[in-house]
Every structure is written in structure tokens, then in C-alpha cells.
């Protein structure tokens, strides 16, 4: 024990240690986690593909135009994932699908973060009556099963990409209310908040400059994990025919089309589902890694 203290004492005076920021520390921890790094690499790869797709594919020509003579071809060198019931190349459509699923997942979670973190922070910071009302509101939303709430919201707003993002975002909100409130409660009574108040900072300044930055870790972890489940929710809605209208190559919608041909052309249902799974898997591995890296105590 004495030895340890001595070592850390030495390190404390070393300049190298002093410069180490929180981000650098998290990155150092994250690098040790193989799963997280694999997840990160897959995610970077998927994002690059999503951005680069228009460089080698044309939406009108390769993604939605029908080519009936080449319909329902099994996977081959020419069509890696085969072709669908109107002769569209499934490989190209799966690639283009990343341009739907990733932004939908990210924007939905941004919606949830804005709503949830605002409500959770206000609840945690002010406490009392405001907290009670906001938390009960969150509980009520949480007691409606996510998928049902999303279905109801989407059917009320109408089918479009934006509405899909809103529906999935609204259903992910209760989780963020809870996480943000819990995080705020742990820092609310720290001395630096009290001193900020003593120097006359306004409540919203304290929340934005002191509370949120210090309560950020659990929120960031929740974001990574929630993007994955948002992608699954969004593709579930598309699978039910309540998402993005055809012929857009959304993965869930492609699965729903493939389902009609499941008896003889099962490859049509294989690849879009695989794409969803790999994306969500990568996000989950990255999220788990981030959680361990940000809070070593949590590591099991």
C-alpha cells in the first residue's frame, strides 16, 4: 500500500501524468478491450461505407430501378447477395441501407437525449415537486411497451423518415430521463456546485457548465447502447410496414419484402438481417467497452 502511494506520488509530479486528459484516459482503457476495438473498427467501416456509397452507386440506377429479367437470382459473383423479386441487386441495397439505419439510429437517440437529459437534469437538480412530476411522466411513458408507443406515434404522424426518427426517439426518452437524473444526483451536492452558486451563477449556467459535463459518462454509455436498440426499433417498424415508404432500401423493409419469398428464395431474408445484426453488435461491443473504460469499478 505504501509502495503504491509512493509510486502514484511520483507520477503526480511527472508532467506526462499531469497532461493526461479524461478523454485520453478513457481511450487508453478502451484500447485494452479487444471487443470494443473490433466494434469501433466495424462502426468506422460502416460509416465510411454509408458516406461513400453514392460515389460508386447511383440511387436511381442501382438501388430502385427494376430489372425484371434478372429477378430472384441466387448469390453469385455478379450479384454477391443475389437479386430481389424485381431484379434489384441486394448487395447494393444493403450497402445503401446503411444510409438509412445509421442516421435514423443516431438522430432518434439525439432526440431522446435532448428530451430525456433536459427532463432528467431539471428533475435531479431542482428535486421536490418538479422532480416528482417529471419522473412520474417518464414512468408513465415507460409503462407503455416501446414498440406499441412507437407504432402509435408513427401512425399518428404519418410515414416518413423524420417521423420514424421522432417515434423511436420518443420511446427511448424515459431511459435517458432516469440515467440523467441519477447522474445529476451524484454531482448535485458537490462543493463546486455550491461554490458556483456562491459566485452568483444562474441555475441554467450551473446546469450547462458544471452539472452536465460532470454527469456525462453514464449518458455517453447509454447513447452508444441506445443507438443499437434504436436501429432495431426503427427496422422493426419498417418491417411492420410503418416506416420509410417503399422502394427505399431500409433493412427492415427489405426483410419484409423477402418474407414473401421465404420458401424458395431465403437468401433475400438473410443479408438485410445480417446487416442489422452486425451494426447493432458493433455498437453493443463499443458501448460495453466504453462503459468499462469510463467506470473501471463497473468492470466485471
Amino acid at each position: 500500500m505504501t509502495n503504491n502511494t509512493a509510486t502514484s506520488g511520483n507520477l503526480l509530479v511527472s508532467k506526462k501524468y499531469a497532461k493526461r486528459s479524461r478523454v485520453a484516459e478513457i481511450w487508453r482503457n478502451l484500447k485494452k478491450n479487444k471487443g470494443a476495438i473490433i466494434g469501433l473498427i466495424i462502426m468506422v467501416f460502416l460509416v465510411v461505407i454509408a458516406f461513400a456509397a453514392p460515389l460508386f452507386l447511383d440511387y436511381e440506377r442501382d438501388i430502385i430501378s427494376q430489372n425484371v429479367p434478372e429477378r430472384l437470382q441466387s448469390p453469385s459473383l455478379q450479384h454477391l447477395f443475389g437479386t430481389d423479386h424485381v431484379g434489384r441487386d441486394i448487395f447494393a441495397r444493403v450497402i445503401w441501407g446503411a444510409r438509412y439505419s445509421l442516421p435514423i439510429g443516431v438522430v432518434a437517440v439525439i432526440v431522446a437525449v435532448i428530451l430525456g437529459v433536459t427532463m432528467g437534469t431539471v428533475a435531479g437538480y431542482y428535486g421536490g415537486m418538479i422532480e416528482n412530476v417529471l419522473m412520474r411522466f417518464g414512468d408513465i411513458f415507460a409503462s407503455i411497451p416501446h414498440i406499441l408507443l412507437a407504432i402509435v406515434v408513427v401512425s399518428a404522424l404519418g410515414q416518413s423518415t423524420i417521423n420514424l426518427m421522432i417515434a423511436v426517439g420518443v420511446t427511448s426518452t424515459p431511459a435517458f430521463i432516469r440515467v440523467a437524473r441519477a447522474a445529476v444526483l451524484t454531482v448535485r451536492n458537490q462543493e463546486y456546485i455550491e461554490s458556483a452558486r456562491a459566485v452568483g451563477m444562474k441555475d441554467w449556467q450551473i446546469i450547462l457548465q458544471h452539472i452536465i459535463p460532470n454527469a456525462l459518462s453514464p449518458i455517453v454509455v447509454q447513447v452508444t447502447l441506445r443507438v443499437g436498440s434504436a436501429i432495431i426499433s426503427a427496422s422493426s417498424l419498417c418491417f411492420l410496414g410503418l416506416g420509410i415508404p417503399a422502394p427505399a432500401p431500409e433493412w427492415g423493409a427489405m426483410l419484409s419484402e423477402g418474407r414473401k419469398y421465404i420458401r424458395d428464395y431465403s437468401y433475400m431474408t438473410l443479408f438485410p438481417g445480417l446487416a442489422i445484426m452486425i451494426t447493432v453488435l458493433a455498437l453493443n461491443m463499443l458501448g460495453d467497452g466504453l462503459r468499462d473504460a469510463m467506470d473501471p469499478k463497473m468492470k466485471k
Binding site: F137, S143, I147, S155, G158, F239, L240, I262
Partner: protein, 310 residues
């Protein structure tokens, strides 16, 4: 304990009022005129106007909601716009199929997750642990409806062991949908079981039990697992409540005649009373199951029971 239960049941009332209002309000925003659905395609303008008058569609939202609530208090959830049948009766007709599926699914997920989770925790940081962690991660990342489709391809279309959908009343119909939901839920429950077991596995009382000569199997199953049960029951309860409320996706994939499909069909036909009614009942089920889970805590953990009686 009784006071606690009574308090929790009373708390259901504001929840139900809020949920029904939120759903009522959202469904009111939905495009399409319900009067047109009731009157049918060939209806004249006068007929549509008459329907609007009869059903009170011309009243403001709050008046319509108040009327709906008056019915709800008397146990009347309204009448379907499409089938003209009573919402409660239709729900009750569909519920047994969903209940059967929910029980089967929760059994599958409990068996899978307890086995894998305990096994994984006992063999922490070995390859056996890694395999089950990866399996759980895969299950968590797999969309439920896709897993269902894969199972149909493998076991219904290729091997022909089980039917690919529908409910004919035999146990065989239940196998694939139950495995689909069960596996998906088991993923989350396995992770919970594992981490909860790891919390208790190094406690001193396990050491004491071993020192007294209790067999390793009994130490794990009775001493460790029982103390690790609370978080597992919590997750299992939530999952069970959600399936009971209608496993929308799996019921769609397997053409299962349950509540989930009733809701999807009603949404597609803009059958507002049916949707509102189903969601309100579902929410009630979720809350009641959660209450039952909280009561169950007391039986699993005597310390919690002692708190209730205070």
C-alpha cells in the same frame, strides 16, 4: 404489506388516466377521417355527417375524452369502428393466445438465461464464460423478427419439424415463436444473471457454506443463486409483462392470432377505440405484473418482507 399493495393499486389510476389521454390525443392527430371508415366507401356526405353526429366526432377533443373516460370507469372500452364489436370482448378473445405464448417464452428464457448466466459466472474469465458472453451479446444484437424468420427457414421450411405459423392448438405451433421471443429475452437476462451472480459469488457466506461441507452444486444453486435472484426477477418481470402486452413482431412473423397482431391490424385500419383500448389494457397489465414482481421480492428475500411490515 396490504397497505403497500393497496397504495400501488391506487397509483394505477393516475397512470391509466394519463396513458389513455396520451394515446387518445396521439390517435386524434392521426390522418384519415374515422367517420369515413365507419360509414364505408360508398357513403354520401349526409351519411358521413350523420355518423359524425352520432359518434360525437364534432365535439372537441376534451369532451370526447371525457365521454371515453365515463365509459372506461364503467368498464366499457368502446366499440370497434371496423368490426363493430366490443373492444373488451375482442381483446379477451385474443388474449389467451398471447398468454400461452408469453408463458412458453418466459419459460424458455428463464431456462436459457439461468443456465448460461450461472455457468458463465461460475467459470468466470475462462473460455466457457467468453462463449456465453458472446452468445448473449449476439442474442441482444439480433432483431427478433429476423431470428423468427431464420427459425422458420431452418426448422419449418427445410427440416419440416414445426409449422411456420398460425395457432392450431398443438404444442408444436408454440415452439418456434416461443424460442424466438425466449432467446431474445434470454440474452438480456443472461447478462443480468451473470453480473448478479458475480456480485454474490465471492461473499463470505458461500465460503462458510463450503467450509461446512455443503456440496458445490448446493452452494451455487441454493446459497448463491437465491441471493442473486432479485435483479433477475426484475428483468424477467418486465420482459414477461411486455410479451403479455402483445409480442407485436413475433406475432406478425408467425401469424399468431394474439393481441399484438390485433393492435397492428387495428392501427392499419385506423380503428381508434380498438388501439386505445388495447394500449390501455396492456399498460395496466405491465403495471400489475410489475406490482406482482415487487410482491414476489418479499417471498424471495425475507429482508425486503421485513421492510414492508415496518
Amino acid at each position: 404489506m396490504h397497505r403497500y399493495i393497496a397504495k400501488r393499486l391506487l397509483m394505477l389510476i393516475p397512470v391509466l388516466i394519463c396513458v389513455s389521454f396520451v394515446i387518445f390525443f396521439i390517435m386524434d392527430l392521426a390522418p384519415g377521417d374515422p367517420a369515413l371508415i365507419i360509414a364505408g366507401d360508398q357513403a354520401t356526405d349526409e351519411m358521413i355527417e350523420k355518423v359524425k353526429e352520432d359518434y360525437g366526432f364534432n365535439d372537441p377533443l376534451l369532451v370526447r375524452y371525457a365521454n371515453y373516460m365515463k365509459g372506461l370507469v364503467k368498464g366499457d372500452l368502446g366499440t370497434s369502428y371496423v368490426s363493430k364489436k366490443d373492444v373488451w370482448a375482442t381483446y379477451c378473445q385474443r388474449f389467451p393466445a398471447t398468454a400461452k405464448l408469453s408463458v412458453a417464452a418466459i419459460v424458455v428464457s428463464l431456462v436459457l438465461s439461468l443456465t448460461l448466466g450461472v455457468y458463465s459466472a461460475v467459470n468466470q474469465n475462462t473460455w466457457k464464460d467468453n462463449v456465453s458472453v458472446v452468445l448473449a451479446l449476439l442474442g441482444l444484437s439480433m432483431p427478433q423478427f429476423w431470428l423468427g424468420l431464420l427459425l422458420i427457414i431452418a426448422f419449418a421450411l427445410n427440416l419440416g419439424w414445426f409449422p411456420s405459423g398460425g395457432d392450431t392448438g398443438t404444442w408444436k405451433c408454440l415452439v418456434l415463436p416461443a424460442i424466438t421471443i425466449g432467446t431474445n429475452n434470454a440474452a438480456l437476462m443472461t447478462r443480468t444473471t451473470r453480473s448478479s451472480m458475480l456480485d454474490v459469488i465471492r461473499q463470505d457466506y458461500l465460503c462458510t457454506a463450503r467450509a461446512k461441507g455443503v456440496s458445490e452444486k448446493r452452494v451455487i444453486n441454493h446459497h448463491a443463486l437465491r441471493n442473486a435472484l432479485i435483479p433477475i426477477i426484475t428483468i424477467a418481470g418486465v420482459q414477461f409483462a411486455y410479451i403479455l402486452g402483445g409480442a407485436v413482431l413475433v406475432e406478425t412473423v408467425f401469424a399468431w392470432p394474439g393481441v399484438g397482431r390485433l393492435i397492428v391490424d387495428s392501427i392499419n385500419m385506423r380503428d381508434i377505440p380498438m388501439v386505445t383500448g388495447c394500449v390501455v389494457i396492456t399498460t395496466m397489465i405491465v403495471c400489475v405484473v410489475q406490482l406482482l414482481v415487487d410482491i414476489l421480492y418479499a417471498y424471495v428475500d425475507p429482508r425486503i418482507k421485513a421492510q414492508y411490515t415496518k
